[in-house]
Subunit: 543 residues, 2 copies
């Protein structure tokens, strides 16, 4: 068998600039399937009872299909994505197919954010993805930031086009072109819209979810009469993202302002949520830009104010993308695979029926179906894995790897007792296992809901603790260098120049992730210049 | 004022092959706004009471911003889209910006279909939009059908690409590339997925919603072990589309099979729903294809069957797009503008508060707000137009033009009586107006719900009657020609050749829309050849 095979070649393939060779993926798939099969066989043959299988998981870690985190974080990440069937590689270098299980997480993200956007007065709409090349050139820093990453359509309907078309990398330019036609008076403001769309950036180093040539996102765009209103909007949206990260994804992001160097191409100010991944690298997980009047001046987006004077509008834009799914994987996952926060998990509860003798089958399946109906009726996302091709042990591993928060086990003795066994994904072994939970609908639903809430907050607490253990206050550049070399985030007073900031990047690989909103009190001295500093900044290596 | 201005130049601009000149659109916008203002002024000045304004609508038709249907159907269509703010033109020829009110209709379509797709076992996912050019060439009739319409990316990240990338016109090729990697055994079948995505087809003659260079759609793709299963799936999906059209959009489509000439490039059989628009042209509003093994043979998509033998999978694909919104506009709209079926209307009920004296304002607005809350709590999509810049008369016209099914009017006398006035969008004048409907929540909600259901079925009945008046059974080619020249659909027994079918198209402009599932009984004789025919076909001019 292939149990001892090393890492499969996902890493190198995704980074390779060449289109995949045709035979490559099917080899990988077969490899993956066979490895699963090996886990199944091992689990089934080495144990006489299911309790043994479940309790035995640690000793079987070496048989797993997933590279241990400690061995190679990147390989672990790619293994989780492949084995949990979250995504696969598209035929064009750097593109990604989002598979149903991964897409269901995206749908959960959409459902939550869509509601929040509408509650705060935004309407969904849709802009074309083809942008005349000349538009991109109108805002000077915007073109500088995006022109190296553009995909260009030059042929349409068999003919060379007069003007090249940009496949949108972001939509500020085309949005402003339209806003200019829709906005006339102060009564047309604020104009607050959002679109869910695909965007394309010709990235050289790609990684599933985190950085792909094409990705899905939402992009909000607003126009306001005053600087203050636009600032309020930009802050409101980064606050919605922050709450989403904490409450839904259980990711304790650090929210703050980007440095000038890291500000979005064309913005006055960029606000960001920065998440610490399991390898302690930072992931920029969402941004909200105060665009000032940069685009309105470039596109002539003006309104007549209450005094009858013509003014340029003040604007914002803000986005969260499928990259966030990468953040969820890398925040919560462990050696067993994915671990999903209950609020976003496509399957919150997996039911595994267990029987040995044929005469036990019907009674167990009936009970399992009834339990499923009770939970489902209560709005819990539940799945019953009643397939007969796999042993319960194999299913335990499989759904654990898929990150399902709770597992309900039902065997003949449970049915006789009117109870079930419930295991938490986030607490391994006996400690996470509760026996004798009543099958009676009210009791069971209450128990499951309480546990789901418990898991949601346990994931957040664990992530907060991990984050806080790995952010260090430093008071000199040497200390900063040391912390970064240890893989940590360094927090320090900072008022030095852009040039100094770039020097830190060159010498340590770390960048300013943000000036956090949450600032320590008291006088501060810049670690680089010794001058007074108004704020602390957080430096870290990032994706 | 600009009341007497002729058609604004939407028609020619959208069809023009050149990118719009920069100044054009703002002129159009101003024009549109001024015309509205003129309606407002007229309504406000010519009437001493609101009843007069509302009852006076017919005489004001000439002041409307919308070209009468009888005068120019295409101009009427474009006026409705512009004035109801459903969509606007993108900067690139043939592209369209879907504005919030239009997008909300799309969201209603998505909500309904998404549920039906999931209920029937399909999962959402996402495929990349860039397809290697070589993929398109693999299925012979597919490349022939699509190659004239392709948009090609030739430059990425500043470099000429080795292989041109097709911006997806449809995804069968890339789907099969991936299915080939995911499907191994009969246990992997059926594989049933769907994606909501944008697609690009380089159309020369474009029209908002109906035919645009880029559009939004859902495309379902499935793979099955047998011909029968794929056939069942293709039929199941056209059935879901048919039910959607009748029950949600109130569009009485004719469902049937396409002729060989009109079958999708790469399919064995195409099923279609054909809708009759207000100008009696046919709109292909949704299709479901049985692809047979055409793509699986081209891409080597095989599985091991229960006997251990390798077989090619049988496949389907099916789609509905934003074109459907054009179908809704052109089925139900009238000279006053849009008319939306309640099930898909973003706003089902508009509340217009009416007061003259300042001391009446608060009491009317309080009552209006309370009515809004009652309806909203009952799940009715309701909006209160409490803006003070417009007269009630202007608002009546505006929301009528936006196609809102029901209007609730509340004035001081109504508040005193504890009642409201309710008007139906689909029944003009006094006949559609009910006075003295109690404000009490239970009574009001019941009344509104009953009326919404009534409007939904009235729209369908009216459309069925219109459709049936305009389909003629013909028994000779001369009769067919005459019916088509009168703008009607012609139904006739047909067993002639593809060549004969193309001859009809050349000579009359009509094509076979479908061989309807609903076939008359009895022996049939082909109108072209005099040979026996198994089926009747429907010929019509189409979009």
């Amino acid at each position: 068998m292939v149990v001892t095979l090393g890492l499969h070649p996902l890493t190198s393939s995704f980074l390779s600039p060449a289109t995949l060779s045709p035979g490559w993926t099917s080899v990988r798939r077969q490899d993956r399937r066979l490895r699963y099969f090996s886990v199944h066989k091992a689990a089934g043959s080495s144990s006489s009872s299911l309790e043994t299988v479940a309790g035995n998981q640690k000793s079987k870690a070496q048989e797993r299909v997933i590279t241990p985190i400690s061995e190679d974080f990147n390989a672990w990440y790619l293994d989780v994505i492949a084995n949990a069937e979250l995504a696969d590689y598209g035929p064009v270098r750097g593109t990604m197919v989002i598979r149903p299980y991964g897409y269901a997480i995206w749908e959960a993200i959409q459902d939550y954010l869509n509601l929040k956007f509408k509650e705060t007065g935004h309407s969904n709409m849709y802009f074309p993805q083809f942008i005349p090349y000349s538009f991109i050139e109108k805002e000077a820093s915007h073109v500088e930031g995006f022109s190296p990453e553009l995909a260009l359509v030059t042929i349409g309907g068999g003919k060379e086009l007069d003007e090249k078309l940009v496949v949108r990398p972001t939509s500020e330019t085309i949005v402003n072109h339209m806003f200019t036609q829709w906005i006339h008076s102060h009564r047309d403001l604020p104009l607050m819209i959002n679109q869910w769309a695909n965007v394309t950036r010709w990235e050289m180093r790609t990684k599933p979810f985190v950085r792909t040539l094409e990705f899905l996102w939402q992009e909000g765009h607003t126009a306001h009469a005053t600087d203050e209103e636009a600032e309020h909007e930009a802050l409101q949206m980064i606050d919605i993202y922050t709450k989403f990260a904490y409450e839904q994804a259980a990711i304790p992001v650090i929210t703050g302002r980007k440095s000038k160097v890291e500000t979005f191409a064309g913005a006055l100010r960029t606000y960001t949520i920065e998440a610490m991944m399991g390898d302690r690298k930072a992931l920029q997980a969402g941004t909200s830009h105060h665009l000032g009047q940069n685009f309105s001046r470039a596109f002539g987006t003006m309104f007549t104010d209450v005094n009858g004077e013509r003014q340029y509008v003040w604007q914002t834009s803000w986005a969260i993308s499928t990259r966030f799914i990468g953040g969820i994987i890398m925040t919560h996952g462990d050696d067993a695979g994915l671990m999903l926060p209950p609020n976003l998990a496509p399957v919150q509860v997996i039911i595994i029926p267990i029987w040995k003798k044929t005469n036990e089958k019907d009674v167990v399946l009936d009970a399992a179906t009834s339990v499923k109906q009770s939970l489902s009726a209560a709005g819990i996302r539940v799945k019953l894995d009643d397939s007969e091709q796999r042993t319960p042990g194999w299913k335990f591993n499989f759904w654990e790897m898929k990150g399902v928060p709770l597992r309900v086990e039902i065997g003949p003795r449970d049915v006789a007792n009117g109870s079930v066994v419930i295991s938490r994904r986030d607490v391994p072994g006996k400690e996470g296992k509760a026996f004798g939970i009543s099958m009676e609908a009210t009791t069971l639903v209450a128990y499951v809901n309480q546990k789901l809430i418990g898991i949601q907050s346990a994931l957040l607490e664990r992530a907060i603790s991990f984050r806080d253990r790995n952010i260090v206050d430093v008071s000199s550049y040497d200390e900063l260098k040391e912390s970064i070399s240890l893989g940590k985030w360094a927090r320090c007073p900072w008022s030095a120049s852009d040039k100094d900031e770039l020097r830190v990047k060159e010498e340590t690989g770390a960048t300013i992730r943000c000036f956090p909103f949450d600032q320590p009190k008291g006088a501060k001295t810049c670690i680089m210049t010794g001058n007074p500093a108004d704020e602390v900044a957080i430096f870290a290596k990032s994706y």
